[in-house]
Structures are given as C-alpha cells and as structure tokens.
C-alpha cells in the first residue's frame, strides 16, 4: 500500500519539554490509524504539527511523497488535511449549514444560503453523516456537533481526517455511530488518524497503532492479533493491571443523606426530580446514567453549585442544603467537577495556585489574608509527586499541561485534602490506562480508609468495577439502587434507558439522544 502521509524525524520543543522527539509515522492510503500513548506523550502536539497549528523545529512531513510545510492550518486544509479538535469550534447561534461553509461560503458577494444547504445535504449523504443542515448548532447533542465538525473537514475536501480523542465526550451509542462513519470513510479510501485512550475502541476500529512514549514513537503494530493488555504494556512500558481487586466492603455510618432533592439547571428547568439516597463511610456509591439525565446537576447541588429547589441534603447529620460552596469545602466535601477546563482549573494559574484554589483561605497556605507561597509550593510539589503529574514542575501553567495531566492535578487537589466525602464526576475522562489505574487505586484507598465516595461516570465499566452500590438515574429520577458487585451490564443498560427489567415497561419516552429535554413526565413505577 502507498503511504499517504509520512512523518520523519519530527521534533518540537516547548520551553522545558521536548513534546515530540524525532517522531516517525507512516499513514497508508485508506487505513484507520490510532495513536496511543500516555498523557503528555505528545500525541496532540503531533497532530497539531501535522495540521499546521505548530511548526516543527526540525524534521519533515511528506504528503503523497511530496515534502510539505504548513505555516498555518489554512495551508494544511488546502493540502487536504482535516482535523476535529477535542473542543469543538462551532458557533451555536448559526445553523449546521452556516457553520460548515463558514469561511468558504458559496455565492459571490451575496451568501447563497440555499446552495450552502444543498451542498451540505449532499455531503452528509455522501459520507453518511446524517444531520439536518437547517437546525441550529446549539440544539444538537455532542455527537451530532462532532458530525458537523467532520462535515466541515469534508466540505473543504479533506483527503485525510485527524480526530483528537473523538470519543472522550461521546456516549457509547454515539461512539458506535462515529465508528460507522469511520468505517465508511475507510471504504472510500480516506485515511483516518485518531487518538484514543480506550484500548477496546482502538482494537475495534483501527488497522494499525503507533505508540508514543515521552515524545518518541516507540513503534507501530498491526492491531489484528494484539490484546488490550499488550497494547497497554507497550504504551506504558511496564505491565499494567487493567482490572484491580477490591477489598470487601466495610461500610460505616451514613455520611451523606440526600432526601427528596430537586435541582434546577442553569436553564431554570428542573433537572433532578425528588432524588433520595445516602452514602456511608467506606463505600463508593456509583451514579450511572446516560449523559444529560441530571447526574451532574445532582452532584453540583451536593457541592453547593446548583440550586436546590426542594428537599434536604444532610452531611454528617447536619443540614447543609443552604450552605455556601466554601463552607461545604471546609466541612470536608471534595468535588472533582466533570468539566476540568471550565470549572476545575484556572488554566492561567500555575500548579501551585491551582492546588490551593479551594484551600487558599486556610493555614498553612495563608494567614491573616496573606498568602504563604512557600508552604503552598511545598504542598503542590508533594501532590505532583504523589499523583505523578508530568512534567513535575509546579511553576507551569495548568493550561500548558496535557489534558490527562490537568485531570490529575484536579484529582490531586481534591483527594489531597483528605475529605470525608469525595464526589468525583468523570474522574478518568481523557486519562491513559496507566493513569486510570493510578486514579482507581487512589479512590479505593480512600474508600478503604473510611471515606465516602460518590462516583459519577458515563463509563459503565468504571462504575461497575469500583462501586459498592449503584444508583441509576434517568430523566432526573433515581430509578433504582442496585448492589454493585452483582449488577450486570444488561440490567444497568436497561435501567439507564428508563426500563425496569422486571416489568419491561418504559418509564419515560423520548430519550433517544443524550441531552433530551425533560420528556413528558409519566408517572413512574420506580422509586429510590
């Protein structure tokens, strides 16, 4: 097979790190090629070099045999390279068609909207990227927005598609739909380069894998015939434990009692409707559900960040329903929010400032209103070491860290506080297998030391392997709480779509997409 894209000896240094160190990569015509590597290995940097966002210090990129040099993404696009970033770049107020053609509109001086819609419709049929060109971006689910991003690439006649962690934000169903699209592209001979941390996905969709470690390419392997374990070991450079054993449950007194709580979202809609449950010391309480069913609003409310419109939240017997977020933090509630860049970190702050972001008021980080920088630095450095944040440099801005390392910083900050209740939402999103293993170990260690933990995750595997009890949330209601070790995928999967396994009755309708608007509130038979 011909090489479509070749990368030879590509090097890119940032102050203090060599993000790409003589990287080699060959992408053949019509293959799906995955890039695997630990957090901070340099995967995104490589993609950005290929896409012209960064310029290499040395090395060469060849496209169909010809050396190319891109000064900006514009050059790369012209050469036929399309890229979908992890954070989409769409304008919510415009329609799908407008977004796709933006910057390259049909029509001369006057924008020919009809023609734009026609072309986008034709493209979406050609590439099986089904989406209505006339709806506003703002009303689309994440999965559909991603399709629009892919359409944008093909509208500009991409001959190669780069996807940076395309599945990190998708639900399992959306991931499956994305893979249908990717397979179709492959059939049309379009090569796809994508980054993922999920080994099963890689084995499912990719033909070949290139593994990166600490800025270098370790090698490329044919996917057929390799196991996830082999891939993981290759990536981390040591044996990784993919499933970890759990100590038997040793639950203590109830730490958190949520009674009939209702929560309003930012849009003033009721997102959580009368949920009750309690979490005991020494247990992990998992909350499973399809994205958009109120799980994040529920934990926001427990942390004091969303408005509770009914019910009470008790922490260690004390009513905290009206307490400020700061007071809750002080009283021993830690929270890892799901959106690390918007909520969890101040990207322009360095790691020292980020590690004390929620504790700067207390000793030893400040006294009498004065910050104690040296105490904060010592603490930050100890956390960086304990949680293996890379590069281990506390003076670095959080925004300069790779995605996975940003997540580690948040976890380090929250776990490091030694809270009596830890709420974690999507704790391992975007993390590599080695890092996930580390995080899971930390969570279990906390549990075994008698802390109460609430784990919200969209990954069923994560919920099932860690939780002692699992509450399934659907349309803002906790349908059922099941025992963790004996729960099955099928049982949880059905509950998540609102179907009780016993009676097989759908409890609510119209929840096909993840961000379903509150559907007609049918009377539910389920109770918590």
């Amino acid at each position: 097979m011909d090489a479509f894209l070749e990368v030879a000896g590509l090097t890119k240094a940032f102050p203090g790190v060599i993000a790409n160190d003589h990287v080699d990569l060959t992408l053949r015509q019509g293959e799906v090629h995955a890039i695997l590597g630990e957090n901070g290995a340099g995967k995104s940097t490589l993609m950005k070099l290929i896409y012209g966002l960064y310029q290499p210090d040395s090395g060469e990129i060849r496209l169909e045999g010809k050396p190319v040099h891109f000064n900006s993404p514009r050059d790369a696009i012209r050469a036929g390279i399309g890229m979908v970033h992890q954070h989409f770049m769409l304008i919510p107020a415009l329609t799908v068609a407008d977004n796709v053609v933006l910057g390259d509109e049909p029509g001369g001086f006057r924008y020919d909207r009809k023609e734009a819609i026609r072309r986008v419709r034709a493209l979406s049929e050609q590439y099986r990227l089904t989406v209505d060109p006339t709806v506003k971006i703002g009303s689309l689910t994440v999965g559909l927005q991603q399709r629009v991003e892919i359409l944008k690439a093909f509208y500009r006649e991409a001959k190669l598609l780069i996807l940076d962690e395309p599945t990190a934000l998708l639900t399992p169903q959306e991931t499956e739909e994305l893979f249908v699209v990717v397979r179709h592209l492959k059939d049309q001979g379009i090569p796809v380069l994508f980054i993922s941390h999920k080994l099963d996905e890689v084995r499912d969709i990719a033909d070949r894998v290139t593994v990166m470690r600490a800025g270098k390419t370790v090698g490329s392997v044919q996917v057929k015939g390799t196991t996830s374990q082999e891939l993981a070991n290759l990536m981390v450079g040591r044996d990784v434990v993919l499933r970890i054993d759990k100590q038997p449950l040793n639950a203590g007194a109830s730490v958190l009692d949520v009674e009939n709580v209702s929560v309003q979202g930012h849009d003033k809609h009721e997102r959580v409707k009368g949920v009750s449950f309690s979490v005991r010391a020494g247990e992990i309480f998992g909350i499973a559900g399809i994205d958009g069913n109120g799980q994040f609003e529920l934990v926001d409310a427990i942390a004091g960040l969303a408005k509770v419109v009914g019910g009470t939240v008790r922490f260690n017997g004390q009513d905290i329903t009206r307490l400020s977020p700061a007071k809750r933090t002080q009283s021993g509630i830690a929270y890892v929010p799901q959106d690390r860049q918007a909520d969890g970190l101040v990207l322009d702050f360095d790691l020292v400032e980020n590690t004390i972001l929620r504790d700067f008021r207390r000793k030893p980080f400040s006294s009498g209103g004065w910050l104690r920088a040296s105490a904060a630095r010592v603490y930050a450095e100890s956390l960086i070491k304990r949680f293996d944040v890379r590069p281990p440099n506390a003076s670095r801005k959080a925004g300069e860290l790779s995605g996975g390392n940003q997540q580690k910083v948040i976890l380090a900050r929250e776990v490091g506080r030694n809270p009596s209740l830890l709420i974690v939402a999507q704790p391992t999103r975007g993390l590599d297998v080695g890092a996930i293993e580390g995080i899971h170990r930390e969570l279990l260690k906390l549990r075994d030391s008698g802390k109460a933990i609430i784990l919200v995750s969209l990954e069923l595997d994560e919920i099932m392997s860690l939780s002692d009890r699992i509450g399934v949330i659907h349309d803002g209601q906790l349908l059922e709480i099941v025992d963790g070790p004996s729960a099955t995928r099928e049982q949880l999967g059905l509950l998540m779509t609102g179907i009780h396994p016993e009676d097989g009755m759908p409890l609510a309708v119209g929840t096909e997409t993840s961000s379903s608007a509150p559907s007609s509130p049918k009377e539910t038979g389920g109770q918590s």
């Binding site: 012209r78 700061a326 004065w370």
Partner: protein
C-alpha cells in the same frame, strides 16, 4: 529559576517591542514629512529628561497616570474594564479639596491624610457602588456604567463651582473653589529649586508606594488571589467557593480608590483648588498605561513615566524641531495599536525566525503550497 527569568522577560518583551516598533514607524513618518528623525527624537528625549526641571516635570505628570493606572490594572486583573477613571479622579479631587479647605485647625500631616482618604473613599464609592452592584447583580456591563458614572461625576464637580452660588464656589467672578489650607500642600520631593518649580511633590513617593501596595495586594494576599482567579475564570472561582459578586464590587471599588487618590494627590501636590477645566484626560491615558504595563504594577510605573515623557518631551520637540507636538499623539496611537495587537508580535518574531531557518530548506517550502 531560569524559567522565572524567561517568563519575566517574555512578560516585558512584548510591550518593549511594541513601543520600539511604534517609535520606528513614528521615525519613518517624521522623515517622510521631511524632518530628521534623530533630531526629532533627540529633542523629545531632552525635553522629557534632559534637565532636572524637565525630568521633574515628567515625573510630576507621571504621578496621576501611575496611580490611576494601578487601579485600572487591578480591575483588569479581575476581568473588568474600568473605563470611567476620569470621573472617579475628579470626584476624588473634589472630596480632597473640600476636606483641604475645611478642618483648618488640624495638624498638617493629619489634615493631608484626611484629605487623601476622603478622595479615596469618594473615588471608591463612585467606581464601586453603582457600577459594581449593577455588574454583580444584574450583569450591567461595567464599560457602560463606569463611563456613565464618569460623566455624572465630572458634571457633579462642575456643578459644585460653576454657578455663582454653587456649593463649593469661591465668591468672585472666576468659577473656582477656595484654595486648600497651606498646611495641606504636599512638600517638594527634593528641596531643590528645579524640583520645586516643576511642582514635583512627595506624591511621587506616595505613588511608588501605591505601586508596591498594589503589587502586594495582587500577588501576596488572598484578596488578590481571588481577584486574579475571577479575572481568569469565573466558573472555576465559583466552584472554588469564591464570592464572585462581592469581589467584582470590590475590584471596581478599589479601582476607584486609586483614581480618587490620584485626584487627591494632584490637588494637594499641584493644583491646590478646583478650577473650571475638567479635561485632565489622565483617566483615559491611564487605560493605555495599564495596557502597556500588562497590568503589572511595576510596569505601570515605567509606562506612566513613558507616557508622561511623551507629553512633556513633545512640547520641547515642537519648539526645537518644529514637528507638531501632535506627533506624540500619533506615537501614542501606534503604541496602543501594537500593544493591543500584541499577538501579532510573537507571530512576527516566529515568522522572521522561520524565514531565516527556511532559507536553507527552500525546496521543502515550495512544496507547501501543493497547488
């Protein structure tokens, strides 16, 4: 440590490059209209720094820019654009003058302190109360509200002395307030005639102390930590348990406190009374000062002196070389443009560097277009 230096250099590099580019382009403009840029800039520099009197005048003019600039920088750090410092300055000046010609039995130092504090409170309330509260609770944009309050402030001060029976008007035909008590006049910065003539008072020391206070406030206190955090990311700050509305109000208020202090210092050090002219423009130039300084308090000192030097030097430039002093306005405009377009500068530097390294690999470059 190496890192710290590098980031510090990067921090001041861009403003310096921006100013340098502006100066070069200014020089080109000057030579295009037929003057020798070296003479022109020479006269500008001598005018600003050449003699002790000139230097002192430059510093005198720098004081209000510096102090107001600090306040604007603090607001910027909180992500707020205090565009109405001019009004806060005048309201502060008014309060200081009022205290300055009352309470004449007070001992000198106490009277001065009281007058300055009055100015600070007035400026702080002017910036903090209405713009702060409306921003924090109904989301009114501070650019609009501080600007509106600025006009109201200026008109209020004007009203105080304009009409024959205005509350602060001195009897007579000229619209002006009574002069402040002699014992509230600030001492000269140095007991030297040139310094005295240039009206350079101890306010320059107070201004530098204010810069240190602003720096400590931003960098070393939990207050500043929250201000900066809110400026960068409100959602994360809320998550961190910070009271975003409160700190929004405080940031705008403190910004006004500095502007009010500037007004007080100007009255006690230079003007000694309110006059009929309310066109200091310090409040506007100080925005550029803060921008050029990238909101770094020590940078504000340098930037304030720089802009004041353009002003004092510009007058000399006109006399010596015949270039209209409005050229300094052109320079100011160019600097603002290049500082605002600071993102262009790294791009520009990178472009130059790449051109150079690509000279060798020219063929590879050709392939890039892939026509």
């Amino acid at each position: 440590m190496n890192n710290v230096w590098r980031s510090a250099l990067r921090g001041i590099g861009t403003p310096i490059v921006a100013s340098a580019i502006a100066i070069v382009i200014g020089g080109i403009i000057v030579s295009l209209i037929g003057y020798n840029p070296l003479t022109v800039y020479g006269s500008l520099i001598t005018g600003a720094f050449g003699t002790l009197f000139n230097l002192s005048s430059t510093l005198t003019g720098a004081v209000p820019l510096l102090v107001i600039g600090l306040g604007i920088a603090i607001a910027f750090r909180a992500g707020l654009f205090n565009i109405g410092a001019e009004g806060q300055y005048w309201v502060g000046a008014m309060a200081s003058v009022w205290v300055g010609y009352h309470f004449n039995q007070l001992p000198s130092v106490l009277h001065i302190i009281l007058a300055l504090i009055a100015g600070m409170i007035a400026g702080g309330l002017w910036g903090g109360v209405i713009p702060g509260l409306t921003k924090a609770y109904v989301g009114a944009h501070e650019v609009i509200t501080t600007m509106m309050m600025s006009y109201i402030g200026i008109f209020l001060v004007e009203y105080m002395i304009e009409e024959p029976n205005a509350p602060m008007r001195l009897k007579g035909y000229i619209p002006e307030s009574p002069a402040i008590a002699n014992n509230t006049h600030l001492l000269p910065a140095l007991p030297i005639t040139a310094v005295k003539q240039a009206q350079l008072s101890v306010s320059i020391y107070i201004a530098i102390a204010a810069a240190i206070v602003a720096w400590l406030l931003l960098k070393k206190t939990t207050f500043g930590f929250q201000i900066r955090s809110i400026g960068f990311n409100q959602r994360a700050s809320r998550y961190a348990g910070m009271r975003v509305p409160l700190y929004t109000i405080l940031a705008l208020g403190i910004s006004g406190v500095f502007a009010g202090l500037a007004g007080g210092l100007q009255m006690l050090g230079v003007e000694y009374q309110l006059n009929d002219s309310f066109t200091s423009q310090y409040g506007y130039t100080a925005i550029v000062v803060a921008l050029l300084a990238r909101n770094n308090p020590f940078g504000v000192i340098l930037a304030a002196i720089f802009f004041s030097a353009l002003n004092t030097g510009g007058q000399n430039m006109q006399q010596v070389s015949g270039v209209p002093s409005s050229l300094t306005d052109v320079l100011t405009g160019l600097i603002i443009f290049f500082v605002a377009a600071e993102r262009l500068i790294p791009v520009f530097i990178g472009w130059v560097r790449r051109r150079r390294s690509q000279g060798r690999a020219h063929d590879a470059q050709e392939g890039g277009t892939l026509a």
